[in-house]
Amino acid sequence: MSASTYLPAGMPRPIPEPDGLDRPYWDGTRAGELRVQRCRACRGWQWGPEWICHRCLAFDLEWVTVAPRGRVYSWERAWHPVHPALKDHGPYIVVLVELPEAGGVRMLGNLLGDPRQEVQIGSAVEAVFEPHDEAAPPFTLVQWRMTP
């Protein structure tokens, strides 16, 4: 287990989709950037990744680096280990974070810090990039922590 990651080693590792749709997101996290899609035609924000703009139906989505901060839209504290890597690990927190500066799209991640902490919907959080350099292929997860 690496002390530099929130969850233990051995969790499922993300790889970009074979069709390339979400590769710019994963390339962005490696570079310490949080990227989401935005339509060049109607300027609407979009997440998760898709080939077409759901508003105006243009196939003209660009990847925009957005401010790595948001607020907690919802959360959960998981106790039951459903993956072998989580056996005997104890509770952990997953948050759904709304990004007001990117049209309110939502991002997932773990909430860093005490896994038994009180969580309030609406709390301000900021992104923390969690590299997994030793993985094959390497990847970086976006995690969240309470804004000091």
Binding site: L7, M11, P12, R13, P14, I15, P16, E17, P18, D22, W26, W47, G48, P49, E50, H54, Y73, S74, W75, E76, R77, A78, W79, H80, V82, H83, P84, L86, P91, Y92, V94, L96, V105, R106, M107, L108, G109, N110, I121, L141
Partner: protein
């Protein structure tokens, strides 16, 4: 009835069948044999020779292929085979609707809706699938330990409870009602295992806001229903349960990836339920008993709200054990014990319980039940629900 096109009253459930319901991994037969047994029992219940079956409908990628079923049963011909898209139990009522549509349209005359599960022989729902890498939607969830159905849906319920001040006791009441009903049901896996409020409160968290007893079981078994036209139903030996309405689907961008559904704190029924009521030409006050799929109690809670039984702010007052228990409750709920306490037959046991109520044969009978609502698979997409009724409300 004002709709130009409707299936209302045209098709009926005339036979139901179930295997013994087993604990997860305990079925002595193969999943396919279980499916055959349930189908044969449903035909026997209807008084129909199994060789008269000419179609099959199922959901959630059931592994038991209709062509193999037709071959095994020696059917003279197969005229309809249908799989409802989507996972979980969301297709339970849709599969009945699809089968009924085939009968009404003349594609087939006698269609069986079935579901068979022997998870011990395959991959379990509540555990992570094997494999070291994930892509697509799972790449944004699995690395964070957001993997199982309970984990996938807990944040929807958490947000709903936050928005409307819903307390844990509202979820608890749903669990207590199911366990209460199961104690009178000898078929139930949890028969003889009563649940108290104290035991619920002391149970471990699976993922907040779901405790152990907020989560469905996983079981082995099979269930089946036989559908024929209303005209033919009248000549058969059991009282027909007429399909009065059925609807399936989900709201705007429900499946937007990474938990980006605009209507997030929802059971996915906000657009579906109004279509059901419209087709049935009945309202909430006409419903005598409800069977509502419990993957998790919070999903039942939101389903009942979205089907119009109470406002979100009324959930704490409405959802009490007294209100949900047959025969005296305001809205008897999951009167066989359902997915929590009878058997997790992916909800199809709920369809059968609705038929039983209309025949007056439930272990927890609601007096003179004439209309029974079934709600299938909240929080997934597509979801579905249906209303069955007796001749009196057809």
């Amino acid at each position: 009835m004002t709709r130009e096109r409707s299936i209302r009253g045209q098709v009926a459930v005339v036979g139901v069948g179930e295997t013994t319901y087993y604990k997860h991994g305990r079925a002595p037969e193969s999943e396919f044999a279980l499916a055959l047994q349930a189908i044969l029992r449903a035909c026997d219940d209807a008084g129909i020779d199994p060789r008269q079956v000419d179609g099959f409908a199922s959901y959630s990628n059931d592994r038991n292929d209709p062509s193999r079923l037709a071959a095994a049963l020696g059917l003279p011909e197969l005229r309809f085979s249908n799989m409802q898209w989507g996972g979980g139990g969301g297709g339970g009522s849709a599969a009945v609707g699809n089968a009924a549509a085939a009968v009404a349209a003349g594609y087939a005359d006698c269609v069986v809706v079935f579901r068979a599960l022997a998870q011990g022989q395959f991959q379990r729902f509540g555990a992570a699938p094997p494999g070291g890498t994930v892509s697509g939607e799972a790449a944004f969830t699995f690395p964070y330990g957001l993997i199982s159905p309970a984990q996938r849906f807990a944040m929807r319920v958490m947000r709903f409870m936050h928005d409307h001040g819903v307390r844990q006791e509202a979820q608890r009441a749903i669990a207590l009602a199911s366990y209460h009903h199961a104690q009178a049901n000898p078929r139930a896996v949890m028969h003889g295992r009563p649940l108290t409020a104290e035991a619920y409160d002391a149970s471990r968290w699976i993922v907040e806001p779901f405790r152990l007893f907020d989560c469905c079981m996983e079981n082995d078994g099979a269930a089946a229903l036989v559908l024929v036209s209303a005209e033919r139903a009248r000549d058969l030996r059991r009282p027909p349960a007429y399909l009065l309405g059925v609807a399936q689907g989900s709201e705007y961008r429900n499946a937007a990836r990474g938990h980006n559904a605009p209507t997030y704190a929802s059971s996915s029924f906000t657009t579906v339920a109004p279509h059901l009521w419209d087709m049935a030409g009945l309202g909430q006050k006409d419903v005598d008993v409800v069977q509502s799929y419990e993957n998790f109690t919070g999903g039942v809670l939101m389903s009942l709200v979205e089907h119009g039984f109470f406002a979100p702010e009324e959930a704490n007052d409405f959802l009490t054990p007294e209100n949900l228990i047959a025969p005296s409750g305001r809205l008897p709920l999951n009167t066989s014990g359902g997915n929590l306490a009878e058997c997790y037959m992916h909800g199809l046991e709920l369809q059968i319980e609705a038929v039983r109520q209309l025949r007056g044969e439930s272990c927890n009978q609601v007096p003179a039940a004439r209309a029974a609502l079934v709600i299938s698979g909240p929080m997934v997409t597509p979801v579905s629900s249906m209303l069955l009724g007796t001749e009196a409300v057809r």
